[in-house]
Structure formats: structure tokens, C-alpha cells
Amino acid sequence: MPTLTIDNQKVTVPDGSNVLEAAKRIGIVIPHFCYHEALGAVGACRLCAMKFSEGPVKGIQMSCMVPAQDGMVVSTVDQDAQELRAHVIEWLMMNHPHDCPVCDEGGECQLQDMTIAGGHGIRRYRGPKRTWINQELGPFVEQEMNRCIQCYRCVRTYQDYCGGTDFGVMGSRNRLFFGRFRDGRLESPFAGNIIDACPTGVFTSKPFRFKTRYWDLEEAPSICPHCSLGCAVVPGGRYREAQRVRGGINRKTNGFFICDRGRFAIDHLNHPDRPREPRWKGERTSWDDILERSRICLQQVATQYGPESIAFLGSPRASLEANWLLSRLAGSIGSSRLVYDCQARRDRTARSLAAQLGQRARSLEDIRQSDCLVLLGSDPLGEAPVLALALRQAARKGALVAVIDPRPVKLPCDAVHLPLHPGRLSQVMEFLGSGMPAASFSRQQLTILEGIRERLQRAAKPILIGGADLLGPAGVTQLFQTATSLPTNEQECGIFVPLAGPNSFSGALLAKDNDDFNSLLDDVLAGKVKALVCLENDPVTDHPERIATALGALEFLLVMDHIPNRAAKQADAFLPTTGWAEAAGSYVNNEGRMLAVAAAFEPGLPIRETGGGNYPPRQFESVTPGSLPQAAWQLLAELQELDLNLHTIHVELEAADPRFTGLSLLAPEHEGVRVRGSGQLPPATEAGFKSSGDTADLTLLVVDGLYGSERLSSFSATLQAVTEAPQLLVHPDLACRLQLSDGETVTLRTELDNVRLTLKVDPHMVDGLAITTRLYGTPLEQFASGSQVPCRIDKGGET
């Protein structure tokens, strides 16, 4: 921890920090462009000049390139240093088009800020400027090269950090073009990060283009709801329209970057079919009326059939506060029929994780720092995209990344890949733990596995990464046994398992040892359950099996949600809730980290719709159109006639359940705290997909994809534009046995449905299995992710 003097102030900084960072620590921010905490220092822009008078280096130096050392004496206000900075800005502005009035970056433009800070006013250069023809980079990113100041941040983000290979820098001298070989969509699933990385308006968000000035944008720090990692993001809206998401900073989770799913999914809040009014049996009504009726109905059912006749379905996407108030409602009524995920397998897997994680919990930061990462049945780009980014950072430092998975798992870094049938993951874990190889391993498979096991044993910070959908509850339990039985290293082997939703983990904690949704449906069909309360969950879409009959058998169905919800169509009471970014609350990510989100804007019908694009709108009402939705936690409080606010909820929650201690102290942008203590396991069942194996000659594995498999983002028009039509993946040998060839149309026959798909032959996957992606809005949404379904594949498209 060196101590140095900057502008006569002493500052002590962690080893390895540079002088620019050191100055920042004491509030002295020196203009800089090429330096970025996550990308490192390259000394290209020459803007961060300081004068060094004592220490190993003397004179004017680039502070980003000088490691802070004891005894250094540095001045940031030195005449020469300031003069140089002014010149660098002047040079950078030589070619700049001065088009701030029409530039989307205006107001949040580092170049604007630095130009002011650097004291540059008038351009003295009168020579010719270099200009460019821009490229068409696809639906996410808009390019305006004339604004470029060549800080190389975009390339370093896209290539070095994110591992993309289709975007880079071409040319030399003062003719540098940052783009693609030719027009076309940026291929990296992390492409949007160059929007955040670019310090000026070269790369801006296309969907957000010309929508709002930064200073008019209503923004607030939040957490991404599109997977379980809990990446920090900053949603922004204006005129009651959710308009954009940019990456937030949390050094423990995502760091600085996010994925394009998280960045471009926000449309779901503006969805034209979004339900915005309380409805009683389909009829619009008032809040007071519907809350009153709902209370009465729940009362009646409880008194008539007993408290256990009312069941509750929480949600992996609802806030922790709402999920907890749901359990409190159940408790106050006296019902133990409370479940947090209608996909029983995912529910059980989450609970299996929450029950065993404990000290083995690891963060994305731990993964970036790890030297050995073994993925078992996990495909990061489908299940938790930013995990892939963390893996890359580890790989760049020399970590081994090994993937054992039936899928042709694609990662933005080098990895050892061993394609194996999901059924054999258990043997693999057995071997990694005990060193006892299953007889069925081929010699080649065994050498790969031995290599991996050997690295695991040598590793200083090994982490096992499991795929919830492929491993299932039993698999996750075995994952822990594997970690435990691994001959111990410097640091005990960590565990990281992405879950289904941003709050799957808190659901798993709140679900106690209750039985799962399947048994709950049994009870409904057996007439034991007469009422069901659905909190931001849509069992009709996510658990189609038996659900229609079940809902039919109910006397009272209450649904709360903010997206088009199929169950809501049958609901007696429908209560519209605020969507993500419209209410404050908390999430617990897949490593048990509690994270707070703030409300960025109020719910309401976008003026784009009400005013047909005109502003101000032409018709006037006393209430803001579409502003009725209320936070789910509020509605649940009112149903129980409790007078609560978020703070009192947190305090009471901490008191009622010490595992959540620390919640009341959390603020948005806080890096979060881990929950204390673990969850419980549900009653055991005979797991596995119930199948009438008859006509089946083959197994279909249904998995999550990058786009289209996560409910909220599936409503995003921006993402729909890039979501690939569903394909059926098979190994060349299987294709050969079935006499099918790449690219041809086939019919996939299962007991649920027949689907037309394009066949994709991929040598990097396992043989003897057909794989497809679960896509909302297609017949494939009927299959739970991770389920293995007996199927048949027929030539041709006639279904």
C-alpha cells in the first residue's frame, strides 16, 4: 500500500494502482480518455499528464502509465501539465464535426466534459478534416465515425474484453476507422458495451436514437431482471416510455459490462398489450373495489374449505419484498401451499442450491480471478450471458476453462469442450470427486477428464459451475459432493450455479420445505385447493401441463402481473403491477447476494401511444393514462390491510427472517451483501420427465438460448429482430443415421406437439440427442427448459 503526495495531499492506495487512480481517490479527477478501470492503461491519448517531482520518474508523465509508489510527489495543476492537456484536447478536436446539437451523446459526452475541463475553446487549425462514410452495424449500434477521437476504447472493449472478432481498428496515422470488415450486424452478444465505452458519440444506441436528451432522461440505478446474475444496470425513460438501459457498475458482479439481452430488452414495459387496469372477471374496476372483493373471496374460501385450500404462487421475477409479503399473506391465512416457481424442476434445483451453497458461494468477480473453471451442463450464453464474459477474463489470465456439456457450447474464450450426454454428467462429477472413472468413458474422454481433474487439484481458486436446467436438484447436490470430495487446494472449491430468474434464490429461501407446483396441481385437481394467488407468474405459459383443467377447477383465481399473462385471462381478479424499473425493491442473485434497485420512472402509457407521437397530447384526463399499476408489494400489503413502506418491510423482514439481515441497510448501487444461512429442501419425489416412451426413438433436449427464452425480454421488439428462428441441432452421425442433412426442414414430433424446424448439423455436440431452444411465442415454449422429451424427427415440413 504505497503512500504518495498529490497536490500536497497524502494518499495511500492499494498496490498496483496507478497515479491517475490515486488522484481520483482524493477527488482529483484528471481528464483522460484511453484509461478505463476494466480495460487498463495504454497511454495512447496522452491526456492524463501530471508533473512528477519526487520518485523514480520525474517530469511530465502520463499518470495512467505510472504505478503509484511510496514517496512520489505529484502535481496535477502544474503549468506544463495543464498546457499539454489543453493541447491534446485541441488536437483531438481538429477533425471533430462540432455536431453536438444533433449528437445523441450530448450531455453525457466525456469529450464535451474534457474539452471544457481542458480549457479548449476555439479551433485554431484551419486545414482539411478527415471524414468517413459510416457503416450499418445492425439494430443495436449506430456509428458516426467523424466524431471519433481514436481512444481505442471500443476495440479494447469489443476484442480484448468481450472477445469479439468482427469489429476492430483499420488504417493508420490519422486515418483510423473503427468498425467491421464490411457492413453488417455486430456479432458479439456483448456488442452494446461499445456504446458505454465510447467517450463520445461515435457509437450510440440505435433503439434510443434521437429519443431523449440525457438531462431529460429519468434514470436510476437498478439490477438487470433478465437472468439470475444480478448485473448492475441503469434504466432510463421519458414521457412515460421506457427508453434505454445502460451498463451499471458493480465490481463484485458484472463489473462494468453487460450483455445485449439485458441492454435491449426494455421494450416489455411499453408493450401495447401490457395490462394496466384492475379487472374483476374481465371488467375494469377500481382499486378499492377489486382489493375489497379479493379479500372477501379469500376469506370465504378460507372459511368454507379451510386455509390450506388457498394456494400461492410467487415468482422468480417478482421483488423480494413482494415474494415475502406473499408468504406473509399465506402465513396469515394459515396456508402452507406456497411455491415460487411453477416449473417444479427449476424450483427444486434452486432450493437444492440455496440449501447447500453456504461458504462455497462465489461471485462473478471470484470467477474473473479464478485459475480453473469447470462447467458442468451449463451454457453461459443461454443461461447467464455475462458469466461468459467473466470466464473470458479468467482465461485471459491463463485460467483453464473446461466445458462438459451435450451442447456445442460457444464461449468468447478458449475452452476445453467435452460433449457428453446429460445423463453422464453424474459419472463425470463422480470421477472429478473420487478419481474413479466410469467404465463407459472412452480413452480419449478419460484423458481429457484426467487433465481437468489434475488442474482442479493444482488450482489455487477452483470453481465448479453447474447448469441448473441440465443438472436438476439431484445434480446440484452431487455438484456439492464433488466439490467436497475434491482433494483440498489452497482455497476450497467454489460453486456457481445460474438460476432461472433474478429472484429465484429468494424464492428458494422463502419456499421453506413446501412441496412443489406439480403436487400443488395434484391437490387442485383432487379438489383440495380452491383458490390460487399468482404473483407475477404465468403458469399457463410456463407449466402448460394440466394447467387448463386445474385453473378450471378453481373457485377463485387472483393474478398480479405487468406483462400479457395468459392465466390472467381466466382470473377472477387481475391486479396490474408496476414493471421493472417502475418500483424500488430488492433481488437476491444466484450467489445469494441481496441487491437493491431504485425506481427510475412512473408507470404510464407512453405519450408516443396516447399522443400518437405528438406532444403535448391532445386529450386530457385527471389521471395519467396507464398509471394505475402499483408495486406488487404494495398490493399485497393492502390485501392484508397492512400499512407498510419499503423500509418497514425490510425491518420486519429482517426481524422475521434473520437470513436477510442487512437488507434495510442496502442502497441502490451498493455492491450487495450475501444472505445469511441457507434454505430447505422440498419433500423428495421421483424426479424425471414423465413420458409415455412408446413411439419415441430419440430424446429431445430443450434448453435456453441467448434471446427469446427469457420471458420479459421475449417481448422486446429490438431483440425479436435478432432472435434466430428455432433450429433442431443434431450430431452429423445422428443426421446420417436419420438420413437428414444440414439446413433441411424437418418435423419434430413429441407427445405435446409437432413442430416444423430447420435442421442444423453440428459436430461439436453429443451424438444421440436432438437439441432445440425454448423460444416464447413458438410451440417450443411448452417444454420446460432442461427437460428431455421423447421425440421423433421426420423429413419434410408437413405436420
Binding site: T165, G168, V169, M170, G171, S172, F181, R182
Partner: protein
């Protein structure tokens, strides 16, 4: 296939493939490969960049990043022969500018252009290392020094053939 061989003769194609497979850092070969394609095809078209990428297992962008860094890799069509006239200090001091002007009149083209018959493209270049024989120019890979209008005429006639 024909396209490929228009870019690179089969034997060279295989030689590069073999070498790329044999060495630890195939990237090492980018400049050699681009130069080979250029020698054979006259310049490096997009298809050449794509070919280089496929041989070295790199993306087209990764090749283009290098191709566009160097100024003796031609990413645009050029004549059968490229005339590079040195415009650096020693040649400047020995009336290199006049040689440059003379070539432009003689060929009837401006720098960067190609003669109608497609034989010559005229480009400037920095110091050729012929400073002792200034003014100098390079046609293809041959350097000519101590240029005078008469000498230039003679050289052009020879190079045309």
C-alpha cells in the same frame, strides 16, 4: 476453387496451409500471405482477405486490421505495375518533385490513378533507401535512382514491355 487460384497458385496455397498448421503462431504469416496474394493477383481484393482468414484461421476483420496498416498492401485495384515515387527529403532536395510532375504528364494521370491501358498506377512513397541516388522511384520491387526525364522515359518503355 478457380477464384482461390486466381488469388494464389495451388502449390503456394497448400504451402501456406501446411505452414499455418505447423507453426505455433499462424498470425506470423499474415504479411507474407497478403504479399503472396498481391504478387499473384496484383492487389488484395476482399476475397483475398477472406482467403487469408480461412488459411490462418482468423476473421476477415483480423486480417483487414493488418492489411490496412501497411501502405504497400494494395486493397484497391492497381495497374500491372505500381510506380512509387519517393517524396522524402533527399529526393525532394534533388528535384524529386519535378520527376513526380514529369511522370504525371507523361502518363497523363494524377497520383493514385491508373493509366487507361491499365499498365501503371502512380503513387508516392516515403524514403526508399536510395537517398544516395536521389531522386528515386520504385516500380514493382525494382528501385531506379538518379532520375532524369530521359531516364524516366527509358525506364517506362522497358517496364511497359
Amino acid at each position: 476453387m478457380e477464384l482461390m487460384n486466381k488469388l494464389l497458385p495451388q502449390d503456394q496455397l497448400e504451402a501456406f496451409r501446411a505452414k499455418a498448421a505447423a507453426i505455433k503462431h499462424p498470425r506470423e504469416l499474415i504479411v507474407d500471405l497478403l504479399r503472396a496474394i498481391q504478387d499473384h493477383h496484383g492487389w488484395v481484393p476482399d476475397a483475398g482477405v477472406e482467403l487469408a482468414g480461412s488459411i490462418l484461421g482468423l476473421s476477415v476483420l483480423q486480417i483487414e486490421e493488418i492489411a490496412t496498416f501497411y501502405d504497400k498492401i494494395y486493397r484497391q485495384p492497381v495497374g500491372r505495375k505500381v510506380i512509387h515515387v519517393c517524396d522524402s527529403i533527399c529526393c525532394w532536395s534533388r528535384d524529386g518533385e519535378h520527376v513526380y510532375d514529369y511522370l504525371q504528364q507523361k502518363l497523363g494521370i494524377a497520383p493514385g490513378q491508373t493509366t487507361a491501358d491499365g499498365v501503371f498506377t502512380l503513387l508516392p512513397t516515403c524514403c526508399l533507401g536510395a537517398c544516395g541516388d536521389a531522386p528515386a522511384m520504385m516500380i514493382g520491387l525494382t528501385t531506379y535512382g538518379r532520375l532524369t526525364p530521359e531516364l524516366v522515359d527509358a525506364i517506362l518503355n522497358k517496364e511497359k514491355a
